[in-house]
Symmetry: C2
Subunit: 206 residues, 2 copies
């Protein structure tokens, strides 16, 4: 009897949509974005600067990412961590940057036939979730400032159950991984975050 | 000289926000949601039904998820895959359901102190990204219909580089994992998806 399985609508009807947006200071930061012809190090330095501005202005955690066209070097999108203000635990910098790049391109697949190759530049190793998000995004390469236990040690953020050989897993899917660009500058921003006493917003851990 | 690193705004200004929404048939489906007192199997059957409706109506891939309060059994949110229509490779069913639950609760952390425990019910094993997303969400338990190579074999979807011992990784973070509820019914929906000839929208794979 089907009716026995029906129920009234819940007292509070489920939410059917959500939106995520970058902080209000981003347009100003975009005006100082590195030129398309800038070196990868200059692009990473800008991204690290965004990671620092984001926590200094209390608009999210100390993480930032940007998507560029690989061959032209043009900026396609930028993302910063929006977990707490966006009330969304998935609103990591990489997910923001990738989602905004896809919206800009009008497709879920940045690797679609005929599209220019896309690269994501991030101020640290992606967490378990973002590693998967990068796989699905269609980007062809990932450039990170660093990886390893330093982030967790300095800030207390949990990187989650990332695959033990994730760079090989990405390469197998046609995504190049480059690690160690401006590592010390990235760590310096994390040390500043830790010294600021701001919230580490990991989800509940048992 | 700072000016040398500046550039004009790109020809197309980067997108600063994005929104994701459930399909227009969801309110009708919610009117037939199982009662809070319904068994977990009844809840899973409803979720599997959503996974099937989603591809039949061409509103996304064959995946659905719902978040319930563990003790009351009340529905908090529902999600279906919205990757292609949402132009967002992260818009998997679990990310949709978790983000909408967090929006409904007004916090990024469904495991916040004082909050009721939350459970996510999904029609298959989470992919690498969603496994991480579940870790960050604050849910206390995950119930899946099945796992293993059958989904990939039947449909061609790639599950990505999920951690080889992901259930243990989740348990270590205080998240219980239960696998195998209505496995055959879930596989039946995937077989129907495969037979329908609809798009498998994996990101480019090298």
């Amino acid at each position: 009897m089907v009716c026995a399985r029906l129920k009234e609508m819940p007292e509070t009807a489920p939410v059917l949509a959500f939106a995520l947006e970058l902080p209000s200071w981003i347009p100003e930061a975009l005006a100082q974005a590195p030129a398309a012809s800038a070196s990868l190090a200059e692009k990473m330095r800008w991204v690290i600067g965004l990671s620092r501005t984001n926590f200094e202005k209390d608009t999210g955690g100390p993480f930032a990412a940007a998507v560029f066209e690989e061959s032209s070097g043009r900026l396609v999108s930028v993302g910063v961590n929006r977990v707490v203000p966006g009330q969304c635990s998935s609103a990591h910098a990489e997910v923001m940057a990738l989602s905004l790049a896809q919206r800009a391109r009008g497709t879920h697949d940045l690797g679609a036939a005929g599209a220019p190759a896309h690269q994501i530049v991030v101020n640290w190793c992606p967490c378990a979730m973002c590693c998967g998000a990068i796989c699905w995004s269609g980007v062809r390469s990932v450039v990170i400032a660093g990886s390893g236990p330093d982030l967790e040690r300095i800030t207390g953020f949990d990187e989650g159950p990332i695959h033990p050989t994730w760079p090989e897993e990405l390469r197998r899917r046609g995504i190049a991984v480059s690690d160690g660009l401006l590592r010390e500058e990235a760590l310096e921003a994390f040390r500043a975050f830790a010294a600021s006493g701001r919230t580490v917003y990991n989800g509940r851990r048992g």
